[in-house]
Amino acid sequence: MYAALGIHGCLPHSHGSQGCCSYHRMALSRHFHEPAMASTSSFTEGASVFGGAANLKTSIKNVFAIYNPEIIAVHTTCLSETIGDDIPTIIKQSEIPEGRYVIHANTPSYYGSHITGFSNMCRGIVSYLAESNGNPKKEQANIFPGFLNPGDMREIKRIVTEMGVPSIMYPDTTNVMDSPLLSTYEMYPRGGARIEDIKDSGNSKMTLSLGAWSSDEAAAILQSKCGVPGVPLKIPIGIKATDDLIMAVKDGFGVDVPESLNVERGQVIDTLIDTHFQYEGKKVAVFGDPDIAIPLTEFLITMGMVPKYVLTGTPGNKFEKTINEMLEDAGIEGSRVKAEGDLFDLHQWIKEESVDLLIGNTHGKYIARAEDIPLVRVGFPVFDRAVHPLMPITGYRGCLRLIEMISNALLERRDRDCTDEDYELIL
């Protein structure tokens, strides 16, 4: 659903019971503090017995008639998957107005995680929409950003634009899930990737595929379908991953790195030098989506912190391998890394040996309270704070924000716990 919201004029459609749709909208609204529109096939017992084809066809007809989107992105649910509804065939049999689109992704909850669903929808977008006109490739980059906040997507686009390279990003939820309050309200906000741009992505010179879990499969499909090579990269969290992104653009398009980005990088290094003693050697537990947890761990190592526990709920052996390699390179021993884990695991580990800081989503707050450890909120979902969807943790500016959040959390804790004699004005 989140990926689909990153297409301009798109109404995500949940093919299943109403509850699924309602919960996803609620979760997105709570994280982004924005309305999250999506329709549902409103399955009843009848549909469950006889199949959901009629419901989906009626839905498509009704949605175009009432809500008039440019495109409907259907995602499935456990129910429709188990029934075995053949979505492509149903879409082919549906009445779709001229110039409008219906695409789909298979997203049952019993397979993978929300990142799997995001990735599947990205694949769907590429498969249905991207096309190559056979001409030589244009000097433009595709960016598959991964499951990120709009603030991050905006920052990544800014960096690529700063380098003088035109880009097409999708999904792109800027000005959708962080849309401004203007004098008029539009059900379809101004942002989101335009369909004509998505089509044109088949003519781009390369795809910057950010995040192995969320983007690489879609990039691979675009490569085989339209011959656009994909460059697999980490989501640019931290200095190293941001450097890698910039170098990929530099090498791919033969452009120079502008001085402005070099200045931004220098500011991060300068800040790290000014503050490193505040967090050096502190033990930290990181949990969240793999494409965020991996570069974040890399940056924490750069900061001189010790990633004691790194955990994701999403399956994939590559997670443990990647993180363990990073830890090994840094000479850090005694850390625990787990894919397809849960916070119960993490809590048990912390009870055995505690850490100085937790970094992850809102769900970590119970551990934070139980064990009296500060929590820096990063990733999805963050239900109990606002403003974060607009503020990047990516790029060099994101580095500064992460340093600020992490060192503030530790300093607040120090101020809280220290004796009167140690309570200092200047830290």
Binding site: C21, S22, Y23, M26, P35, S42, T58, C78, T82, S109
Partner: protein, 463 residues
């Protein structure tokens, strides 16, 4: 009856099928259509059967709530209520059997058995509620048999909740499933009886932000004790004492009316409707309870409490009333009980209710709403965002009360918002709640931010 709708509400933004679910008081002769299934393709604000069952049962604090299905169903309903507990925090966990593709193909019963065994071993709960989700209903896991067998094996209550999401898009069906589970839980074993007391049960009270505790204090003051609330801050043991009450209060009518009727049939306990939202409703409800007991001392104490509290609340409400008078309000909430309560409170604050609706109201609920709102108010069942948006703008609403899905829509339209969802953490019940509600309505309706919304120098400069 169905086609008598003399003046349909303006059809611009909605399908013909939806017109009968919208009426304007004073205009339409026919009854509103409600509790129908939502249209396929609707951006419905409704949820599912499982959701309905979960919100009713979730506040049973020391029970384990085990969601038999893929992980999504449990993840999205993790700690979904603002119900407070004076004891166990077990209910805030969301246990799941985490069904995977294999299980969907080969059946999930074995996994369910293993989960129950593991939970019993690790946590020793007095009861486990096992919720059926869509997939479980579809693949046909026999959760009733599994639960029965597990109950016998472990000597605790393992109660199936038949809440497959697809059974209906209306949470009411889920309320019923939860009600059945509760009745099953409290039914004494053969030969056992629960002795009658002078205490009362408080049905449809979920202790959001400690609301049950507040009412409990009022009742203690007038000399009445709560036996157990359904289900706010309740425990399995306390619920089992439910048949011993001499009276059932019914607050959230949508979820508990049916349970109250069954309790009357099974245990001969009469019930009365109460409503502790708003100062006037609170006073009225306390009097009704006192009258039932028919004890002069109770009546005297009740009047003394009402007088004292009213004296305290009145001037505060008056102060807000002056600021809020004539402002226009809209309400869109889950159940009719809540809608009625909020309409009344907003009216106490001098506001005009322009538009109201619910996800799950019944015909008689809508009739009741029709009698208390003024002419020209739009009443709507199962509204979609397009309809909400249209009426908010058309009726020039200043403030909306609703749940989380409506909040950001209202905000985007530049309209104030008060959360009355089932996950709120600050109590709104009783006299104190009336003050808090008034303050929240004032804070959002009269926030300085709306001035900045109205006056944008850039747009003005461009004409």
């Amino acid at each position: 009856m169905e086609n008598e709708c003399s003046v349909p509400a303006e059809p611009a933004a909605c399908l013909d099928e939806r017109q009968l679910s919208i009426m304007t008081t004073g205009k339409n002769k026919s009854r509103i259509h409600c509790a129908d299934d939502s249209l396929a393709g609707a951006v419905s604000q409704r949820a599912c059967v499982y959701s309905g069952a979960r919100v009713v049962l979730n506040p049973v604090t020391d029970a384990v709530h085990l969601v038999h299905g893929p992980i999504g169903c449990a993840a999205y309903t993790w700690d979904i209520r603002g119900s407070l507990s004076s004891g166990s925090e077990m209910f805030r966990q969301s246990f799941s059997t985490d069904l995977k593709e294999r299980d969907v193909v080969f059946g999930g019963e074995k996994k369910l058995v293993a989960c129950i065994d593991e939970i019993v071993e690790k946590y020793h709960p007095p009861a486990i509620f096992v919720y059926a989700t869509c997939v479980v209903g579809l693949i046909g896991d026999d959760i009733v048999a599994v639960c029965k067998e597990a109950s016998q094996r472990h000597g605790i209550d393992v109660i199936p909740v038949e809440s497959s999401g697809f059974l209906s898009g209306n949470k009411i069906v889920g309320y019923r499933a939860a009600g059945e589970a509760l009745l099953k839980l409290i039914r004494p074993k053969e030969g056992d009886t629960v002795e009658k007391t002078r205490k009362l049960n408080f049905l449809g009270e979920y202790n959001l932000g400690g609301e049950k505790w507040l009412v409990e204090r009022y009742l203690a003051e007038i000399g009445i004790e709560i036996n157990v609330a359904f289900t706010g801050d309740s425990t399995v043991a306390a619920l089992k004492r439910a048949p011993g009450a001499c009276l059932n209060l019914v607050q959230c009518s949508g979820s508990m009316h049916w349970v109250a009727m069954n309790l009357e049939q099974e245990y001969g306990t009469p019930y009365i409707d109460v409503n502790f939202f708003g100062a006037e409703n609170t006073a009225e409800s306390l009097r009704r309870i006192a009258r039932f007991y028919g004890d002069e001392e109770i009546v005297r104490r009740t009047e003394a409490l009402i007088e004292r509290e009213t004296k305290r609340v009145r001037p505060v409400i008056e102060r807000y009333r002056e600021k809020l008078k004539g402002k226009r309000a809209a309400i869109y909430v889950g159940g009719a009980f809540k809608a009625l309560a909020i309409i009344r409170q907003l009216q106490e604050l001098g506001m005009d209710v322009m538009f109201t609706g619910t996800q799950t109201g019944k015909p008689e609920d809508y009739e009741q709403i029709g009698t208390i709102v003024s002419e020209g108010t739009v009443v709507i069942d199962d509204a979609n965002p397009a309809e909400i948006e249209r009426f908010l703008l058309e009726k020039e609403v200043d403030m909306m009360a609703g749940g989380v899905k409506e909040r950001f829509l209202a905000h985007k339209l530049g309209i104030g918002f008060v959360d009355h969802n089932h996950d709120r953490k600050d109590g709104l019940a009783g006299f104190d709640g009336a003050i808090r509600f008034a303050r929240e309505v004032y804070a959002t309706t009269c926030s300085p931010v709306w001035e900045r919304v109205k006056k944008n120098p850039f747009e003005e400069a461009q004409g």
